[in-house]
Homo-oligomer: 128 residues x 2
DNA sequence: ATAAACCTTACTGTTGGAGTAAGGTCAAGC
DNA sequence: GCTTGACCTTACTCCAACAGTAAGGTTTAT
């Protein structure tokens, strides 16, 4: 199949598929006589795997590792466990930071009931 | 004062101060005879305001608006209120998205108790 | 024949800076 | 007088993960 069909099957833009090839996340696609990229059903599977990882906000470099680990199916999956665990930690850390931010913004938003900028409590608070 | 002292007083890197000038967040600094940037205490205040906004993850373009609104102290602060409210909404939305992500990652992390990649439940789950 | 849909590479832009290069200036110490 | 180190300058590249656009070649349908 051609790139556009792969795109539709995986819900990944053609542009992004080419980009993944560029940065080495996907192998160089084979080409048919007119130079168009030619894909098979295993490419669909690989790309869906990548998309699922991206939905979990795993960065491309880590996805590369996850792909490479699978080339030897008998190797330990400690690396996989660790990577997912780290990703979970990252997400939790970000949530905590954003929660603090939310509190601050909420307090700030409630602080002003004036009409004119010169007496705006929000702006005053931002200056400290 | 020179840029390095402004940097120390505000806890903003010299590099970043020049960048803010470049993108129009700070006015063009006046220069002394040798071409060095020369700052006053009002620059300290402005930069601290910007830094506080950045701590709240307000994007530079919106900070520009917050600065501009203050040039007329009699104007309404509806725009300020709205901007902070939107920022709060953005943060809340992101927190919600990340909370879903956290659940998924947590479930995923618990799913595998195997040793070898070939049977790793995490990887299997990622392929669906 | 031609138009629409698809394919190609290559370059730029996004956000908010950080890193590095290559060079000018200034004060202190020897 | 000379050097050393701290400071200043501009200008360029890099980061993540693409999206947008240009300029052109190919295929398919009408």
């Amino acid at each position: 199949m051609k790139i556009n069909q792969l795109s539709k099957l995986t819900n990944v833009l053609s542009k992004t598929i080419r980009y993944y090839e560029d940065v080495g996340l996907l192998p160089q696609a084979s080409r048919n006589s007119n130079g168009y990229r030619e894909y098979s059903s295993s490419d669909v599977d690989n790309l869906i795997f990548i998309r699922r990882c991206r939905e979990l906000q795993i960065p491309l470099e880590k996805i590369k590792i996850l792909i490479q680990v699978q080339t030897d199916t008998t190797s330990s999956c400690n690396e996989v466990d660790l990577l997912i665990e780290q990703q979970l930690e990252n997400v939790r850390k970000t949530i905590n930071e954003l929660s603090l931010l939310e509190k601050t913004l909420h307090t700030l938003a409630k602080s002003c009931s004036n009409d004119i900028v010169g007496e705006c409590e929000i702006l005053k608070n931002l200056k400290q």
